[in-house]
């Protein structure tokens, strides 16, 4: 299971890559693997203010659906509209072209409670 080191993770299988005052959010390889073939992504509304752990959207697959949560507080500043016509990007490239939304972070970005790649990887192997 791929877990890139250049970002932070939630226990509910989102990742966030923070650069300056922006954070890019998507779901992990483990999450897309458990969803199977994604068919629809309900993109959140740009401008919506969210708290950490708020439910932001739902991703549907052929046989499953998963609720997606915001890793940190912020305002949704962009969404990946490419997913409207290519929801399968979530499966093929969950850490890249399958990103879901971007947050304008509240300063300073509160990242307590988020996991490093190492910690997230350990969470998945403790079975």
């Amino acid at each position: 299971m791929k877990v890139p080191a250049d970002r932070l993770y939630t226990k509910t299988h989102e990742w966030i890559r923070i650069e300056g005052d922006k954070g890019m959010v998507g779901i992990t390889d483990f999450a897309q693997d458990n969803l199977t073939d994604v068919t629809f992504v309900e993109l959140p509304e740009v401008g919506r203010r969210v708290q950490a752990r708020d439910q932001v959207c739902v991703i549907e697959s052929v046989k499953a659906a998963a609720d997606i949560y915001s890793p940190v507080a912020g305002t949704i500043s962009a969404v990946n509209t490419e997913l409207e016509s290519h929801p399968e990007l979530i499966n093929s490239d969950p850490y890249g072209k399958g990103w879901i939304f971007e947050l304008a972070l509240e300063q300073p970005a509160a990242t307590e409670g988020l996991l490093s790649a190492e910690e997230y990887g350990a969470l998945l192997t403790e079975k």
Partner: protein, 248 residues
Amino acid sequence: MAPSLQKSEHAAAVDRPVYLQVIYPEPQPYRRFLPFMERLAAARAADQVTDTILLLEHEPVITCGLKTRAEDFLLDPEEIRNRGIAVERTSRGGGPTYHGPGQLILYPIVRLSTSPLARDGLLAALEEIARRTAADFGIRAFRRPGMPGIWTERGKLAAVGYRIRRDVSFHGLSFNVDCDLKPFSYINPCGLAGEKVTSVAAESAAPPSLEEVQHCMLAHLDSMLGRVPQSATPAQLEEILGRRPVNG
């Protein structure tokens, strides 16, 4: 007072993680069961209860997963209700399906990050449980590429659909043992037009009882989980949830 839970005899004194196993003796009405299952999933997410497997039958119902379209109904929902079958919206992914007496339901309310069922994906795990259970009764069942569920040459034997909230799964697997297959013809099951459904009874000369199938299914589940089942009655599960208030 914590309800006293009985550990299965064969599993006693084995130092492995446990899971809670709850078997419902009577078919459950979907409309009442869904909010209960959602409450259980929220309690699991809050660590107020351990991983729990529910085994049950439903009273006759057609449930509409999130992907259900109006054209998946081949008979007017009102007419379906007139025939004694409830029609309910639900929170799982996928299209419409039928549940009723004689169909075995397995709902895994488990934390995915720590469950062996999610190691290679929950869909594959539930399909494998169904495939192995069918094999116990001499039925050659298989996966079909791009067509989730478990199939025989005659049609679909088992269907899978679930939801994931806060790392916890709910909904799950339905396995046709000896149920009325006619209601499947009122819909495009799982959104698939023209695909047939089958059951263990339709596949075998001497159909087994639901209890026998349940027994085999649980054995496969346990071997895939590598965990010790701890039996609780439906009332004990209610008590566990009742004494611990659920957040949100």
